[in-house]
Structures are given as C-alpha cells and as structure tokens.
C-alpha cells in the first residue's frame, strides 16, 4: 500500500503529459529542503551514504515519539535527478507512520511514467533510496514498535 501523500504524487505524475514530468521532477529537486545544521557535524552513523546512487548522496532517518518517520537528505546540485527522487520521497513519506513506510512497495514509482524519460536502469536509484530508508527504519527499531 502506498501512503496517501506519496500516492498523490504518483498520480500527479501519471496524469501529466510526458513533456511536463521532467519539469515536475525538477520542481522536487529544487524544493528538497536543505540538510539541517545538526546533521552536518554528525558522523556516518547518522548521515548515511546510499552507495547505489551515482553521486554522493546522503540521508538521515529519525523516528519521533509518535512512531512517525522523518527524512533528511543531502545531494549535490549537479545531480538533479537524484535530488528529485529524494524530493518525491521527502514529500511523500516524511511524517508517515513507521508501518506505512515499511509497507511502501519497492516499485511504487512504476506508474509515474518516468521510464520513458529516464533510462529504466537509472530509475533504480529511486528504489535504492527507498530500500535504504526502510533498512534504516528497521535499524532504529521501527519494525518492533
């Protein structure tokens, strides 16, 4: 099951003409919130590199008292596509309950109509980031709560 805010993004992409989808993804890239200061100084335990991504790409995951997941990303401006993926996940999953994040299907983006614009192999960055988020949520004890 895809969490509602993420489903909304998927539908927006699916309902838009192909020529507009890249612009939408760029909007997510540009709208990705900067990494909060407190992570900049944090070590690799907190801010983790996603090795499957082509460019240096880091993410941090936190779970709050209400068992909701919060996501933080850091990706260079020269990698707008990866930033766009992060922006989609930030807007679609931030604040979602732990269980919803863990249940998000790995191929949730297949209906977004990006495969014709971005080579399918390169789209794997999106599932790699999601997989990394889930792994981190489990490490933080999210699965047992």
């Amino acid at each position: 099951m895809i969490p509602a805010p993420l489903q909304e993004i998927v539908d927006d992409f699916a309902d838009s003409p192909a020529s507009f989808r890249l612009e939408m993804l760029l909007g997510f890239a540009n709208g990705l919130p900067p990494l909060p200061e407190r992570f900049a100084a944090a070590g690799g335990e907190v801010l983790q590199r996603v090795p499957e991504c082509q460019t240096p790409f880091f993410l941090a995951v936190e779970i709050d008292e209400d068992d909701r997941v919060h996501l933080f990303f850091d990706a260079p401006r020269e990698a707008p596509t990866t930033r766009g993926y992060a922006g989609v996940l930030a807007e679609g999953l931030d604040g979602a309950p732990v269980s919803s994040v863990l249940e998000t299907p790995p191929d949730f983006f297949s209906k977004m109509g990006l495969a014709e614009l971005i080579s399918p192999l390169r789209l794997r960055g999106m599932s790699a980031i999601l997989a990394h988020i889930k792994r981190r949520v489990v490490e933080l004890g999210g699965a047992s709560s």
């Binding site: 760029l26 499957e52 390169r122």
Partner: protein, 290 residues
C-alpha cells in the same frame, strides 16, 4: 567547413584539431547562425537546471535511442530530431555535457554514424564552462525547424556489434575502457553506480584495460597529444594499421576513448562497441576472461 576551426594553440598538435572548440571560442560563437550547441548529459535533468545560452538538449535515452528496439533511431528519426533542434546538414554541431563529456562524445559518435560532417566537442565540457563562471540560462530555445535530409546510418565503419567483437578476439586490438575493478571482474558495475544488469563479470578475452579517464585532465579537457600517444601508441602499441574496437558498459565511456583515438590521435579505423558489457556479460556462450 563553413565555420572556421578554433585556432587555439592547444589544439594544433591533434590529428583533427577542428573537432575541438574551447570555451572562449564557443562563447564568441553563440550567435553564429551556422553553429548549434547541443548539451548531452548523463543526468537527464542537468540541462533544465541551466545550460549554455541557446543550447538545445539532445538526450541519449529519449532522443537517440529507439523506444522499442535496442538500437539508435533510424534515418527518419534522426532527420526528424535534427530538424526539430534547428540543425541543418551543414550546421556546425558542437556537443558538450556533464561528466567529462561522456554523453556528449556518445551523441557526437551517433551523429557521426549518420555522417553529420561538422561535429565538434567543447573541450572541458559543462564542467569547464561552469568553472569559468560563464553564463548559463534556464531559457529553452525554440529553434525554427531546419531542413535535414534523410540520410542512412552507416554502422559498418564506426560501430561494432557482438559478432564483430567475437571475431576480433585474437585478431585485433580490443580496448576495455572501464575501471580496473570492472575489467578484472571484481565489480559488475562502475564504482558508485547502479548495477546495470550484467549477469557475468570480467572482460572480453585479449582486451587490454585502458580506463577512459587516463585521456582526460581533471578539469575535463583532453590531455595533450604527447600524453595521449604515450598511453595508446607507445604503451599499448596501437598503430594506424590497427582495426581497434573500444567498449565499456553501455558505450558512453568508450565513446570518449573513440573520440580520442579517432580525432585526437588520428587512428583511421576505430569502432565503438555500444552493446558493451551489458550485452557481453549477458550473452550466452561468449568467452569471458577474469
């Protein structure tokens, strides 16, 4: 050529200095009606974040590849693409892009398959243009459609297929331009890149490993002819009588090496195997060496 070559002295020694332009030259020719600048990137959104004023975008995936068959667009598709981008058959077509011009070299190579005569590469690519603080814009040009003749693609002279590579083992030089880890079979994909679906790892038997990056300076420009000859001619022993095939993973890094061997060193017979490791590492019963 209708547009004179960049007279910059750093290009003089190369076999075909007319194939390169400097950032200075390009900045002075942005308004030349005989010149079209095309950006070809690895990241499909980089152009949209800002590009050289007036540059059109040519995407390797959505523009140059056929959407159905694993091949390039056919002659009609290419003519239509060129027309749409405002490129005529006589246009001086200058490519540049991100990541050391990998995809710019690739797009230039594809345009060469269709015999577009005046193709050039911006030495240093996007990286150098931006490092020098030159102007970029997000304004997307809307060129008037040009007339481009439907011209057949000639795959025989510049492109190698799997069977050509198979026949080349033991008979001609094969240059594997991937990283040492990919060549040795330790890695199935580029360091830090996603796995692109090759089932087996290693290299084509008899291929030598000359990573593409050896031909580039850190600022994205090509190394001098003397440096390039030291690598490919003196060290690797490639000569003008050789029939050379270069490959990488999907043909983009080997386009960079193809450009070096063909246009900078001037070897007359160099082909790019665009199927590369993603084809070879999945093909049934082809020999592999580790």
């Amino acid at each position: 050529m209708p547009v004179e070559r960049d007279p910059a002295p750093q290009f003089d020694a190369y076999a075909h200095p007319e194939r390169l332009v400097s950032t200075e030259w390009l900045a002075a020719h942005l308004d030349d009606p005989n010149v079209v600048v095309a950006e070809s990137d690895e990241d499909v959104l980089v152009y949209e974040t800002g590009h050289i004023p007036g540059a059109v975008k040519i995407d390797w995936h959505s523009d140059l590849n056929d959407p159905l068959t694993r091949d390039y667009v056919d002659e009609n598709g290419f003519a239509e693409l060129m027309s749409r981008k405002g490129i005529g058959r006589d246009t001086t077509l200058v490519f540049y892009g991100d990541n050391f011009n990998w995809w710019a070299s690739y797009a230039l190579w594809v345009a060469s398959l269709f015999g577009h005569a005046d193709v050039r590469l911006l030495d240093g690519g996007r990286q150098k243009w931006i490092a020098e603080g030159r102007e970029i814009t997000t304004d997307v040009p809307a060129p008037a459609p040009a007339t481009y003749p439907v011209t057949p693609r000639d795959d025989a002279s510049l492109r190698a297929f799997k069977d050509d590579v198979l026949a080349h083992i033991g008979t001609g030089p094969l240059v594997d331009v991937r990283s040492p880890g990919e060549y040795s079979g330790e890695l199935s994909h580029m360091p830090d890149y996603p796995q692109e679906g090759a089932i087996r790892t290693g290299h084509v038997p008899t291929a030598v490993n000359v990573p593409w990056k050896r031909a580039a300076n850190d600022d994205g420009t090509f190394r001098s002819l003397a440096d390039l000859r030291a690598i490919y001619v003196e060290e690797q022993g490639l000569t003008e009588t050789d029939d050379v095939i270069a490959y990488c993973r999907i043909g983009e890094r080997s386009s960079h090496t193809w450009f070096v061997l063909t246009h900078l060193i001037g070897l007359p017979r160099v082909r790019n195997y665009d199927g590369s490791w993603v084809e070879w590492g999945n093909a049934v019963r082809v020999p592999i060496e580790k």
